[in-house]
Symmetry: C2
Amino acid sequence: MITSSETLYENVATKIESLIEQGVLQPGDKVPSVRKVSIDHGVSLTTAFQAYFLLENKGLIESKPRSGFYVKFSKSKLPPTPSIIFPEHSSNEVKIDEMVSRVFKEARNEKNISLAVASPHHSLLPVAQLNKAVTQSMRKGKGKELGYEMPPGNEDLRRLIAKRSFDWGGHLHHDDVMITFGCMEALNLCLRAVAKPGDTIAIESPTYYGILQSIESLGMKALEIATHHETGVDLDDLSKALEANKVAACLFVTNFNNPLGCCMPEENKKKLVRLLAEKEIPLIEDDLYGDLFQGKKRPVNAKAFDKKGLVLLCSSFSKSLAPGYRVGWVVPGRFKERIERLKFMTTVATSTINQMALAHFLENGSYDRHLRKIRTAFQNQINFTTQAIIKYFPAETKISRPQGGFVLWIELPSTINSFELNEKAVKQGVSIAPGLIFSTQNKYSNFIRISCGLPWSEKIEQAIKKVGDLLKQQIGKLN
Amino acid sequence: MITSSETLYENVATKIESLIEQGVLQPGDKVPSVRKVSIDHGVSLTTAFQAYFLLENKGLIESKPRSGFYVKFSKSKLPPTPSIIFPEHSSNEVKIDEMVSRVFKEARNEKNISLAVASPHHSLLPVAQLNKAVTQSMRKGKGKELGYEMPPGNEDLRRLIAKRSFDWGGHLHHDDVMITFGCMEALNLCLRAVAKPGDTIAIESPTYYGILQSIESLGMKALEIATHHETGVDLDDLSKALEANKVAACLFVTNFNNPLGCCMPEENKKKLVRLLAEKEIPLIEDDLYGDLFQGKKRPVNAKAFDKKGLVLLCSSFSKSLAPGYRVGWVVPGRFKERIERLKFMTTVATSTINQMALAHFLENGSYDRHLRKIRTAFQNQINFTTQAIIKYFPAETKISRPQGGFVLWIELPSTINSFELNEKAVKQGVSIAPGLIFSTQNKYSNFIRISCGLPWSEKIEQAIKKVGDLLKQQIGKLN
């Protein structure tokens, strides 16, 4: 009975949400009364109330005392998205490590509210279930949980990851999968397998600073490609860049690029794979955020169109399940042997018990249920954060509309230096990620990334207000 | 009462063991009867029997039905140690990865008895206690066990590692320590911090193949230094090599080099540190086996004499406690900041729960108790393996006398190609590590390394016999 009534109130909520999204109901509009909903839809008053609480939790409506519910937020009424910057097609040495270290030294200080670090808060994770999976693995392990699990890694876990490939259009065998210490180790191994120091890697602009740091630490160069808010990498820009430069590999976050949150359409992924296959250029596909889609269905991966074994797919459980387990994987295609060896030489093997526990958790099928829950949580947190930015930041502020993941990319008035902004914010106990660390070309200095990984709270709203106040002060001074 | 009687029988056993070690009692000699021991030492018959069982467990005596106990094995009657080879002082490209992969593909096949892989069997590890430590950490963690534990890593664990530095002559602060994914990640990070592709690293000859693979994968070169069975690196040879070559760093296993099991005397470590400090050459000190000494006390580390922050100490819990946890550490000296950043770029952070559990285990003080136990087990396994090699291998065989760790380095008749020997042995279900993979100079082709990490059993004795039979066949053919 609970299940059917849940469906009922969700149904009602979805209808009203769609009216809001389409702009039929606009911010400030009163929504139909609970009584009216109850009568019109033939549901109980309780059900109607549940529907409205759900919408309130999503940050879409708010109740006003003695008056009823009003629309608070509509995606149809958002500020424009940040500008697309077409980067120069030059192969650049990367030198952002110093800056990133400076930013994150403070961002990781537990006293500060970190809007800089893109990590899900543990209250959003299935702690009890995972701990139970650890306990059960130890019971089952009979001592083997202390032994090495040599590359390619735990077979059960690899099989379960291969099984999930169906969701993104793949049909992997477990021997196609190798377990790594998170997506970061996977990306590092791939870079080392397909390129050498001095080689050029094509990346999105902007792109995750960790990718830039890896490229820097391996003595490789970066070539930035224009990337759109809706459709990701600009394929024409990529084509031109590949004509003008010798590129050893591309490293793209095809689903929900961090920081943009964009997703390449299926057709573009097909074209991308075809283009690179013609030129025999490997594609390292970072799919870290693929399961955290906001739409109706999980996007397909470029790997699904790979016929030559040239796509190296990387991902992990760090953004959705257990950051601290440090378990990720790579589907290395034709570079399998090389990557298995590099893994052994670098970290020998991935932690055994962590792999066992994740296999146990996935086997029970609770991962999909958890993913539904955490996607909703991220969506709600993005809604609330967006609203707070609109409310507290200067009017010219532009905000991304991520199609997945949980970060926002924000363009501030052009006079703002976001690196300095962060240093000021840190003094007030808040950290943000300045745009400069997402590129090699000294662009995005008036951009910031804000993570929505923390459950929404008054404290976070106040943190965003502090940043907004700093911005307004700075603009005031300049005018 | 139990404790005092334990001490009693151990005392008696130690006296007899010393008679055997000094050669007063020789293999084949009858040892005093249990009754005589009981009367002479004023102990009960039970205590006398316990003493003899202990010596039997150590492989030193054996009982003959209706006759009594006889000396079976004495270290005073061992074959000579393998030859020391003075390598050429040339900086070599490393190309052993292919060969190592071929060897260990088979060595890791669970159907084979692996005398090749140097890893403690899980029956030698404190499984129940570690599992309990995991459970307690999860209870205490309240969800934080799923979050990132950013570099430098878990503070409790770092403090406990710093505390243990007293054992090797150090006095570290926990901020001097950074947690890594095992010793292998620590070594890799150190190499990357102090040298770049093309640079030369001075290493021991022979040295652990994993170190050679790392150097190879990073595009660096290796310069081999002669290494003695008793005293480790030959400092004169090192001096000469440093005169003739530009060396970016030394990477030495100062305590119980794998495969030799040698230990540099304290005086040599002092000289080594002084020599390298004069030339401003960093020393990466691999202390993976330091806690697994066979003598009376733990050897001092070279790090203890480091005044300039030029010694980078690396170690882990993989050989003594929990290989599969993949938890090690580095004491990076003046390279701290660079190494912390490289760690973040490569694997972000070390697994949280694994660090918590080890901190919990160390806090309880059960580590030292466990170490005493596992050291005895390794010593016994080394004794039994040595005896079996003497029994089954050709008479010319030479065997190392490891002062710590749990591997044996064996020189076979010069006509033997140990790589081929291994391929033949694998067909019979046994794997060994051929000498060629421990050097870049195509030396040691008639050497093998045998691991004594598995509890002694009839099966292992038979495995050694199989290798011995293959050797004898091959020699027979050649003669």
